[in-house]
Point group: C3
């Protein structure tokens, strides 16, 4: 086996419209389960209103990110998509964040920097569950 | 074979300066041709004024994305690069969009969400052709 | 060997707060050293205040990028994270840029477009050294 894909619909207790959920320990466990010692870990999500990001798990910056994205897309704006589904702002924020991250795996562990955590970035909550895919490619 | 790269200069009928071209069926066909059952598909483009994005193929949101990007970079702005080549706005939009996307392949198909489509995001059209690379990594 | 990871703490002569360092020739050399003829090259960085981007190495556009990012995050803004560490603007810029890039390798060379260069994008300098990871996956 050179590559392991774990697709999981994860129960998520997302209470707000925009919320950053730290999934680092979940991804770390998947890497551990894969028994890959050296390789690459890819995290993706199949949603158009949620992304995968890397940033610091510090309450202040997480709040800053939420407010910054809100300001960038001006959620009060008139968007065409809102005639269909009232979440154009969530689509635009997701566009900026991206749907995947790639992280090296070294000696069986994610090669994350001291301040890096992985987040599921919900832009259109609240939600009870969301899908996350973790792929580990082996050396 | 563990990995298949298909580089293709694709004829593209891009009529506007900014246009989002749905390339999902093209990428799906490449995955099918690769006969990979489980793996990862990576889509890249070698241009500095065009990106690869994932979003919903709904006319309203596609228009919203185009307008949102225009507003973010204020295309009337004075940019240094415009002394050389009048497309700084296209470079800045591409910077925000990114040049690649990564999608799992499961049971021979792209693991896209119900609302996800893949787009070639032209920021400096019109154009007759552009390059797209599709890479499929096999389990 | 199907995959080669080179993690390197690179001495970097970053003199400004925000600086784009062209690392294309370094990455090209790593691809050459890996002796991979066809595959994929992934470049990542483990910092929360620096990203990896692809754009044109033209002084005007590099200045435009720096100014554009500054304007987007309004560095004078009151951010919560600044109570802890005075670099919320660097975190927000990195969020928009992303921490990785993926490029095909064809005939032993990076499949970069004519105008594409790879940059280490420092958002929180000056710095003497920073880490860059280059991963090459072989066909």
């Amino acid at each position: 086996m050179d590559l392991k894909i774990n697709q999981q619909t994860k129960p998520m207790d997302i209470k707000s419209r925009v919320e950053l959920i730290d999934i680092t320990s979940y991804v770390e466990k998947e890497v551990e389960n894969s028994r890959v010692r050296e390789g690459v870990c890819i995290i993706t999500t199949p949603h158009t209103c949620a992304g995968i990001i890397i940033n610091e798990n510090e309450p202040g910056i997480l709040l800053d990110i939420v407010n910054f994205l809100d300001k960038l897309v001006h959620s009060g704006e008139v968007y065409e998509h809102n005639k269909i589904d009232n979440n154009a702002d969530a689509h635009l924020k997701t566009l900026l964040l991206g749907s995947s991250e790639v992280i090296p795996v070294v000696e069986g562990k994610l090669e994350l920097g001291a301040w890096q955590s992985i987040f599921f970035a919900e832009m259109d909550g609240p939600r009870d569950e969301r899908r996350v895919n973790v792929i580990v490619i082996k050396k």
